[in-house]
């Protein structure tokens, strides 16, 4: 089972890199020009997320270097270590449903500080990719058509986020053997 996941992780990108251009070529797409057109978006996306990342890096940097992060970790360690959750991941868990840019910034900071191939790095990567910004999506989507009563949409969205976080912890521990 886990070997299959390994295989998927290893092969998805090489497969897509080869398959998509070939498929596109035979469908009559001008592959090189389409690539360049799409690629030009990439730079501007990076520019757009830069303020978010800097804002979070600064806040977390101060929080960490002052010793507040280790204080938080020590306080919560008895509860969290029981579930195998590192306290450093908490800011990400709180930020993920609230702000897409903010969560990306926290993930980036965790990867930079702990290394992308550490337990925290792998966990943060998995959490970041597995759910979306619940509050943002609800306000934009419902707001666009003037819905005021959102019924059970918010609890359902947050439950989904929670399930994603728990699943991320369990599957990262199983696959990478922590």
């Amino acid at each position: 089972m886990w070997a299959v996941l390994d295989f998927i992780s290893l092969w998805t990108i090489p497969f897509l890199l080869a398959f998509i251009p070939v498929y596109g070529y035979f469908k009559g797409v001008r592959v090189y020009e389409a690539f360049v057109e799409g690629a030009s978006e990439g730079f501007w996306i990076a520019v757009r997320i830069m303020p978010y990342v800097v804002a979070v890096f600064v806040a977390l940097g101060i929080f960490r270097s002052a010793g507040a992060m280790s204080l938080l970790a020590e306080t919560l360690a008895p509860v969290l270590s029981f579930f195998g959750v590192p306290a450093e991941i908490l800011p990400l868990v709180i930020m993920r449903p609230l702000s897409g840019g903010g969560a990306l910034g926290i993930t980036a900071e965790l990867l930079k500080f702990h290394g992308p191939d550490s337990y925290i790095g792998r966990l943060a990567s998995t959490m970041q990719g597995s759910t979306d910004t619940t509050f943002y999506i609800l306000s934009v989507y419902f707001g666009s058509v003037g819905i005021r009563n959102t019924r059970h949409a918010l609890p359902v969205g947050l439950l989904g986020d929670l399930a994603g976080f728990i699943a991320a912890v369990m599957v990262v521990r199983l696959v990478f053997g922590y």
Binding site: S9, L10, T12, L16, I20, P21, K27, F35, E37, G38, A39, E41, G42, I45, A46, M50, V53, A55, V58, G61, I62, R64, S65, A66, A68, I94, S99, G102, G105, P116, D117, G121, R122, G129, S130, T131, D132, T133, T134, Y141, V145, G146, I147, R148, T150, R151, H152, A153, V156, G157, L159, G160, D161, A163, G164, F165, I166, A168, V171, V175
Partner: protein, 194 residues
């Protein structure tokens, strides 16, 4: 809420530093962190450009549309309240497949269009319909095959294997989507009975 969290992080950091008599650390880490943030984003640009380029080819080759057709039976089953062949189904499918490919910016216009078309079916224009809540449940729990930004970020921070989290992400995202859709189903039935 985001504002409050951000402020708490900064202020509690300054207070803890002051208590330890290390206020100078605040200045120092604020400056270096800002610099580090910019460097991290710059490191991200290469992979982002590569990925969005490849995905543009996929889009123009009709792969998003092909995936949408493939998903139709499943999605019809998830949204029983949408009449067969209604245009809202098409927008929902395009939104889903764009999300699956990790094409966030391309997915949003389809999503907003789907909401408009669902609103046409909705009787009470200020209250979300069943289909709307289900659609949002699916969207907020996000179904992605390739977390492109995370892979780029891992590459930028020097990972030996940037893509090793693809498998774990797929499992976690399936769990979050299944739980969100089940919770939606249960709450819908429960609230109706009351």
């Amino acid at each position: 809420m985001v504002n409050l969290i951000w402020m708490i992080l900064v202020v509690s950091g300054v207070l803890v530093a002051a208590r330890h008599g290390e206020v100078s650390k605040v200045t120092e880490s604020a400056m270096t962190s800002a610099q580090l943030g910019v460097e991290t984003v710059l490191g991200l640009i290469g992979v982002m450009i590569l990925w969005l380029g490849i995905m543009k080819i996929a889009e123009e080759a009709g792969l998003v549309k092909a995936l949408a057709d493939f998903l139709r039976p499943l999605v019809q089953w998830i949204f029983p309240s949408i009449p067969k062949g209604h245009k809202a189904m098409g927008s929902i499918l395009m939104n889903m497949s764009a999300n699956l490919f990790g094409l966030g910016p391309a997915a949003t216009p389809f999503g907003l269009k789907a909401m408009q078309e669902l609103q046409e079916l909705n009787e009470d224009k200020e209250t979300a319909s069943d289909a709307m809540v289900t659609f949002l449940a699916m969207n907020t729990s996000s179904v992605t095959i390739i977390p492109g930004t995370v892979i780029a970020l891992r590459a930028a921070t020097g990972s030996v294997s940037p893509t090793e989290i693809v498998g774990t992400t797929i499992i976690a995202t399936i769990c979050s989507t299944v739980v969100a859709l089940s919770a939606d189903y249960i709450l819908r039935k429960y609230r109706r009975r009351r």
